[in-house]
């Protein structure tokens, strides 16, 4: 009796394992082939002098030493940081401000206004850059009317080292800000109206209510948005490649673009992989940071 029972349980367990295997197999296979293997291969390549396609000799740490004298790589680290600086904090604050505006509204007006702010986010990056290249066109762009208020002649913004990176950041914020707005709206909806009612009874003004209720209660979402944006913007490539190609005078060259240049333009697969390892390391460290922040959020 008991033996049969345990044999049944054993069979059931074995069956469950088999079923689990069938269910996880496709994902695991994809994960192994398309993720684990390429990651290990990237590490291996970084110690070789391989071209993009084909084998190379083992060169030890030569590629890593080369990072120390590679101006473009060093500048690109700096430029990537500059871009992060120009986007992360502004887009977070702007997202919060817009979310505060939108949550006040009701009904169809709210939907419409939200759609206006969100629509750019779902567009392909090439569409976004084509639109802004047209708006900012030196001769015929409508945005030049605004720029002429500051600079009488108008500015070829993506050809001017002072303007290029800030304008790439501006376009990026316009494109992706809708995402932050949504997160903040969700966060704001989770704040109980009771708090505001109580504050109103105490005669607190708009600003006071924001400072003492909204800001502290929305902080976890703010931290979330900040970290998501930080990691996202470190990976910038598309907008820079499409708007400035890294110019003028390499003033907008960013990390992913150096990987692209080394591996695909100059055919240095090994060195390209080395820079990829650096990007990987930077983002891994920051992700651990993000994870900590998220943990803080999950345990109120």
């Amino acid at each position: 009796m008991r033996a049969g029972d345990s044999a049944g349980a054993h069979r059931a367990r074995r069956r469950q394992r088999l079923q689990a295997l069938v269910l996880v197999a496709p994902f695991c296979l994809a994960y192994l082939v398309l993720f684990i293997y390429p990651t290990l291969k990237m590490l291996q390549l970084s110690f070789t002098s391989a071209p993009l396609i084909g084998d190379g000799a083992f060169v030890g740490l030569a590629n890593y030493r080369r990072l120390l004298i590679d101006h473009l790589f060093q500048e690109s680290v700096f430029h990537t940081g500059y871009f992060v600086l120009l986007t992360v904090l502004p887009t977070t604050l702007l997202g919060l401000a817009i979310a505060l505006m939108v949550t006040r509204l009701r009904g169809w007006l709210q939907s419409l206004v939200l759609a206006c702010f969100f629509l750019p986010y779902i567009l392909p990056v090439t569409v976004v850059t084509l639109i802004w290249q047209w708006l900012l066109d030196l001769q015929f762009g409508i945005a030049q009317h605004a720029i002429r208020l500051f600079d009488g002649d108008g500015v070829a913004v993506f050809k001017n080292p002072a303007w290029a990176m800030p304008m790439v950041a501006f376009v990026t914020i316009w494109w992706t800000n809708g995402f932050n707005v949504l997160l903040f709206i969700a966060g704001l909806r989770n704040i109980s109206p009771d708090y505001y009612d109580a504050a109103s009874l105490d005669g607190a003004g708009r600003l006071q209510r924001f400072r003492h209720i909204t800001w502290p209660l929305i902080w976890p979402v703010t931290a979330l948005v900040l970290t998501i944006q930080l990691i996202l913007q470190l990976k910038i490539f598309d907008q820079v490649y499409l708007l400035t190609q890294g110019g003028p005078f390499n003033s907008t060259y960013v990390l992913v673009q150096v990987i692209y240049r080394q591996a695909f333009v100059l055919n240095h697969g090994g060195y390209g992989a080395t820079i990829a390892v650096v990007l990987f390391a930077i983002i891994a460290v920051l992700s651990v940071l993000q994870y900590q922040v998220l943990r803080v959020r999950d345990t109120p």
Partner: protein
């Protein structure tokens, strides 16, 4: 219902894929990539159309990609993975670089002979530039260079136009500067316009002026050896001076620099011969508003010299998937046909590389090409090196160092030193 919709969508997709890829009967299809836009593009497309019409057994399927780095990156990567076109346009200046990355496949003597092409059909300089390590990797199509476009009305006003309708008094840098000053006073906003925001343009003028002083950019693996560095600084400083004096526009984009000339705001314009059609077409439709001409770049320093490059045809070395013999034969037919018809290509301002066309009566009468065709005698090609040519480290360096110096963002001496150091490192 969802699944049904999905299935019908998939079916439609398969059907569409099938119709799109179904082979045309008995036609050899040639995949062709080029980087030719503007007037060049219009003329090459016309040539392709004419070829397709006249040759029912071959169909050229052309794609135009973005000039410069994007084009050459695509070509190089595609070849490395065994893909890409059957034939493509290629700059001779980039040939050593292209061969060093294994992107190009040499032409055999037999293939050339079958196409009816031989060494005697080409200028020696072009023929030499089409070889790397003793092998022919490209069939030259043209020689193209930079020229000086000028506004006859404005030059007349400033007393710089000779009775023959050609400019006078432009030789020697100090005379040239005086002329720019005089032109700026004679109703032109700028004495000369050129694309001061375009690294390729800057390189062409820089290299011209360096060579006019007898300077060397690269020899024996040394970048700007000896007094060449000082000559490079002189060349850079000359351009920077034009911009600083307000004689040339600052940070002018390529199209803007042309517009400044065509709208009469700049009295002269330095640009490639490939912009000749722009002027011809504008003049024909009476939109130019002035009489124009074009001459070889004046001798600003010691002797005549002008930067030059060649468009050519090349076949990629598609690794593991070489262009099959029947396609090569068709490609050779295409190349030979285009060479024979390159008088139409000369309409785009270029000097055909194919001697039977260049020596023909029709070409000798073709204006304005005939006026500036003399430049071919003193043309200097980019250094033959795997760091030189279109979309090469040398072009990048011109963009990163000489260009800022021209626009007053860097001292000329520092710029050329930094350029030398960076390129010297690339050579190691």
């Amino acid at each position: 219902m969802n699944a049904k919709r999905l299935r019908s969508l998939a079916a439609a997709a398969v059907l569409a894929a099938m119709t799109l890829t179904s082979p045309a009967m008995a036609k050899t299809k040639i995949v062709w990539w080029d980087f030719l836009s503007g007037g060049d593009g219009v003329r090459m497309k016309a040539l392709i159309q004419q070829f397709n019409a006249e040759n029912p057994d071959i169909e050229i399927d052309g794609t135009t990609l973005e000039w410069g780095t994007p084009f050459y990156t695509k070509v190089q990567t595609s070849a490395a993975v065994g893909q890409g076109p059957d034939v493509m346009t290629y700059h001779l200046s980039r040939l050593p670089l292209g061969v060093s990355t294994g992107t190009l496949r040499p032409f055999s003597d037999a293939e050339m002979a079958a196409a009816g092409l031989s060494q005697s059909d080409y200028f020696p300089s072009d023929w030499a530039a089409a070889h790397v390590g003793g092998k022919l990797y490209a069939v030259p199509l043209d020689i193209h260079s930079i020229i000086l476009y000028y506004n006859k009305d404005l030059l007349q006003k400033a007393g710089l136009l000779g009775a023959d309708g050609l400019p006078k008094g432009l030789d020697g840098i100090s005379h040239f500067n005086d002329a720019l000053k005089a032109l700026s006073g004679a109703g032109a906003q700028y004495g000369v316009s050129f694309a001061t925001a375009d690294g390729a343009t800057i390189w062409r003028i820089f290299y011209t002026m360096l060579n006019q002083q007898g300077g060397t950019f690269l020899s024996d693996d040394k970048i700007m050896p000896g007094d060449s560095l000082a000559k490079a600084a002189t060349a850079t400083a000359a351009m920077a001076n034009w911009v600083a004096q307000g004689w040339a526009p600052k940070q002018a984009e390529y199209p803007a620099s042309i517009a400044l000339f065509t709208s009469g705001k700049a009295a002269m314009h330095i640009n490639g011969v490939w912009e000749v059609p722009t002027m011809v077409d504008l003049a024909k439709s009476h939109k130019l508003g002035f009489a124009w001409g074009a001459v070889q770049i004046p001798v600003l320093f010691d002797h005549a010299a002008t930067w030059a490059d060649s468009h050519s045809f090349a076949i990629p070395d598609r690794r593991g998937n070489p262009v099959p013999a029947d396609k090569v034969a068709a490609v050779m037919k295409v190349i030979s046909w285009v060479e024979q018809h390159s008088l139409l290509w000369a309409n785009a301002g270029h000097i055909p590389a194919f001697r039977p066309v260049t020596d023909s009566e029709a070409f000798r009468k073709l204006e304005p090409n005939a006026t500036y065709a003399t430049l071919a005698k003193t043309a200097v090609f980019d250094p033959s090196s795997k760091i030189a040519g279109v979309a090469s480290p040398v072009y990048d360096a011109a963009n990163n160092f000489v260009l800022p110096a021209v626009n007053g963002q860097m001292a000329a001496g520092d710029a050329v030193k930094q350029m030398r150091d960076e390129l010297q490192a690339d050579l190691q």
